[in-house]
Amino acid sequence: MQMTDKPLIELVDLHKYFGNLEVLKGINETVHEKEVVSIIGPSGCGKSTLLRCMNLLEVPTRGKVIFEGVNIMDKSVDPTIHRRKMGMVFQQFNVFPHLTVLENITAAPILNKVMSPEAANKKAYELLDTVGLADKAKEYPQKLSGGQKQRLAIVRAMAMDPKVLLFDEPTSALDPEMVKGVLEVIKSLAISGMTTVIVTHEMGFAREVSDRIWFMYDGVIAEKGTPDDVFNHTKNPRAIEFLSQIL
């Protein structure tokens, strides 16, 4: 949409093993500022693992994760500080059930001491307004539908003013009628210039909002390019097979 040439996340020769199983087999890629990247591919190809390596929820076995010029895998670097600038949204929402909708959003800025409680509350209401949940601020998440929980999770991630949002199959656990509302929120963030990396099975959405698509197969990025390149002109047999099954 409005991507720049400025690298935000650089992945250098990234390998990840679970036991003896090599899940990521040497990833070299860059996410640029304001870029929207969709990661697609068959189940088990390593796309969620790759996303989770970006904020070190999974620690890569070897390689580098360079965020804003800093290798956050370096032993001397505290990943906690860097995670504050990388929001993440999960397939299962993972909203905090013991906190109200408002507290879900204010918890991180207050506990991380980047905002006063008053400022955090004000910001939380503004964020809730953007996703149509302001009237639910005092409710507990159990009262929300799946789609509302996921929209809450998105604004919770936004509360720390992140440089990038990482979405891990954000609509896969939603009832079909909830998907659209959540995708619209993600799309409006992407349009507003938020750097976004999204693992998704929503091909129409990926084609519409992405600057670039990474197609993963068996632990490597087997094909990449603009949505047009990947969806219409790929020569990669794996990608052709995958797309023919899913489209």
Binding site: F90, Q92, V95, F96, H98, A108, L111, A153, M160
Partner: protein, 219 residues
């Protein structure tokens, strides 16, 4: 027999009530202290530090794998070497606290590990520090799992204190022995003591169920 029970109750009820009082406070002290130390042992067991977690595992396994009665004797015999003037009651209390800390540690560990791992991941992704993740996100949710288990431990402990009557420390089973030797009757005071235990444990477990329901009202 019924008339004997009534006669013994009306004559000796203060002895039984004193015994009940002692049973309750000894069990309560054991559980409260056990919870305090058990929390640290649970955290040690879950720690990434191998020395800490192994030490905690050994501690828990030894205490859960040997009879309570043996542990009572062990401290009753052993502690006077260190503290010559220590009372029997203090030895028993320390033994019960230590025993309870092992069981409570396992309750706490299970309660913490039952919290959805996604909660920790979400908290990590927001850049919360390890101590905030534990105190603000995991423990408040784990408490709902831990409290009912602690209640059960308390009920178990009330029954276990009966073993301490070996050292004649004045709890409910000691009361039975006192009444038995005074009244020259065994079955009747035993029945009374049994009924008291039953009333207490049933009431407590009913209370626990109510608290549990309240705790899960928000899920």
């Amino acid at each position: 027999m019924i008339s004997n029970i009534i006669r013994i109750w009306s004559k000796y009820w203060p002895v039984f009530m004193q015994g009940l009082w002692n049973t309750l406070w000894i069990a309560l002290v054991a559980i409260v202290m056990g919870t305090f130390f058990g929390t640290f042992i649970a955290l040690a067991k879950m720690s990434k530090n191998k020395v800490l977690s192994t030490a905690a595992t050994v501690y828990i396994e030894v205490l859960r794998g040997t009879p309570m009665l043996l542990q009572l004797y062990f401290f009753w015999v052993g502690l006077p070497y260190l503290f010559p003037s220590i009372s029997d009651l203090a030895c028993v209390l320390i033994a019960l606290c230590i025993n309870s800390s092992a069981y409570v540690a396992e309750c706490i560990r299970a309660g913490i590990q039952a919290v959805d791992p996604g909660q920790r991941e979400a908290a990590m992704s927001l850049g919360l520090t390890e101590s905030n993740i534990m105190r603000k996100i995991i423990l408040p949710q784990a408490v709902k799992n831990i409290l009912p288990a602690l209640g059960n431990e308390f009920i178990v402990m009330i029954k276990e204190t009966a073993l301490a009557s070996v050292f004649f420390i004045g709890e409910l089973m000691t009361a039975f022995k006192v009444v038995q030797s005074n009244a020259f009757l065994a079955l009747e005071p035993l029945t009374i003591v049994g009924l008291i235990y039953l009333v207490i444990t049933l009431t407590l477990s009913k209370g626990m169920k109510t608290i549990e329901r309240r705790l899960h009202a928000n899920d």
